[in-house]
Amino acid sequence: MTVVGRVADFPEGTHRVVEVDGRSVGVFNIGGRFYGLLNRCAHQGGPLCEARSTTGTLVSDGWRLEWAHEGEIIACPWHGLEYHVPTGQCLAFSHIRVRTYEVTVVGDDVVVTPASSRRPPAASDR
């Protein structure tokens, strides 16, 4: 467990990149809930979580486009590959998921738990 800051350091709708056990991790406050995402895009290794801010994105309901997932999408600053922050799921490629980290609030501290789950496959591994 790594304390990465105080709650006040992560206002709602913002995120910061922190270091957890030698790894660069993005910590996001989305609607009052905290999420952690490895700061490395599976495409070309870009600094995924250094993107300025999360947004929504376009999804389709049949042939109608809808703006959805407001505040939950991060697009890599390098090439724009999109991920759903709460799950680490890549929107363009279903087989790609970036590692997520459990983030909890303990008292006034924001605490990241290093992932123990199996690392999901990345495009660059194939």
Partner: protein, 369 residues
């Protein structure tokens, strides 16, 4: 892959990076009266590569804009910034292309376009390449004024590494005989010509892409269709025969179209040789002599397919790495380095083929001719 030279120790020549030339920066280098026009737009709030009267229209300006964190508008404003950022991606030498002047061919005023080209070339050499030996100049050839472009090539022959042939909105295509003075000058100067396009929507083939709904479709086709059209044009009008010593390279179109063009032209040649009787070899012979920059390198599920693609156009000695830094679709060297090229092909593609094309040594110095 174990046992390989790390990227940081490999010679990497980047055959396509972009400097940001603002109208205000070019104004002091620009002949009157056009310098006045540049100063008049110097303070116009800049949308990405889209300034009225300078670089009108362009990439992504037709489709609806939604918020995104993709930093699609990166720019490099100074040679120090360029050297520093290229060092980050292990690039040793880099050929500089413009940002806004990617669209110079769409400008309708020939005298203005020629003045812009002269100003850019002087600015690029004075402020960028003469001060930083790792930065190489691709001087722009203004297609609207081929005679002036030829004079520019003669003027800068000793300082440039290549001649940039703009393709976006170009009319007619680069095979037209009106451009022969440019090729003659480049051949005499021992400078290669490199074609470079960008996405625009214009009535000019193959940029008449208004039929597409999305930037996804327009950007998928604009660079590649333009390069294919110009390569076919240069072969079918005999540029490749009239200027046998001229070295030709193409950029920002990937590589997967090369086998198609080679095979398609050879097939048509069987039936229509009489239209191109000046070709003494099959058409693919000339296409295969052209140098091809990798970016945007295809990303097939089987990375070995990239090696196969190179084999299909005999591109072992003509395929060259390019990043397209700092643009939205740049290729980091690690992307190409995931391809199982083998040690020799890896060295050639990342650096040695480009040294041959530009006639330079590993420090960027041109061999005496």
């Amino acid at each position: 892959m174990p046992g390989r030279v790390p990227l940081g120790e490999l010679l990497i020549v980047d055959t396509d990076v972009h400097v940001h030339e603002s109208p205000g920066a070019l104004a002091p280098y620009c002949d009157p009266p056009w310098d006045v026009a540049l100063r008049a737009v110097a303070d116009v709030p800049e949308r990405y590569l889209d300034i009225p009267g300078f670089s009108p229209g362009g990439d992504g300006t037709l489709t609806a804009r939604f918020p995104t964190s993709h930093e699609a508008t990166r720019m490099v404003h100074s040679p120090e910034q360029m050297v520093s950022e290229l060092r980050e991606i292990d690039v040793d030498l880099a050929l500089l292309f413009p940002d806004h002047l990617l669209k110079i061919a769409v400008l309708p005023q020939a005298d203005y376009a020629a003045a812009l080209a002269r100003a850019y070339n002087a600015w690029l050499i004075e402020e960028w390449t003469s001060r930083h030996p790792s930065l190489l100049a691709a001087i722009v050839a203004c297609p609207q004024d081929p005679a002036d472009a030829a004079r520019e090539i003669e003027r800068h022959a000793g300082d440039a590494a290549a001649v940039y042939l703009p393709c976006a909105g170009l009319d007619p295509l680069w095979g037209d005989r009106r451009y022969d003075p440019i090729y003659d000058a480049a051949q005499n100067a021992g400078l290669p010509v490199l074609l470079h396009a960008v996405t625009v929507t214009s009535p000019v083939f193959p940029f008449n892409n208004h039929g597409f709904d999305t930037e996804f479709a327009r950007h998928s086709t604009s660079h590649t269709f333009s390069i294919m059209a110009n390569v076919i044009s240069m072969v079918s009008t005999g540029v490749v025969v009239r200027f046998p010593e001229l070295k030709i390279g193409v950029t920002e179109a990937g590589i997967s179209w090369m086998p198609f063009v080679c095979n398609r032209l050879d097939k048509e040649y069987v039936e229509r040789r009489r239209e191109v009787p000046f070709l003494t070899e099959r058409p693919s012979h000339y296409v295969k002599r052209m140098y091809v920059a990798t970016q945007p390198i295809e990303e097939p599920e089987r990375l070995r397919d990239i090696v196969t693609l190179i084999e299909l156009f005999d591109g072992q000695d003509t395929t060259m790495y390019a990043s397209d830094w700092p643009h939205h679709d740049f290729d980091h060297p690690v992307k190409l380095d995931q391809v199982p090229l083998g040690d020799e092909l890896r060295r050639k593609v990342f650096g040695e083929n480009a040294l041959t094309l530009f006639g330079i040594d590993r420090d960027g110095r041109r061999a005496r001719r």
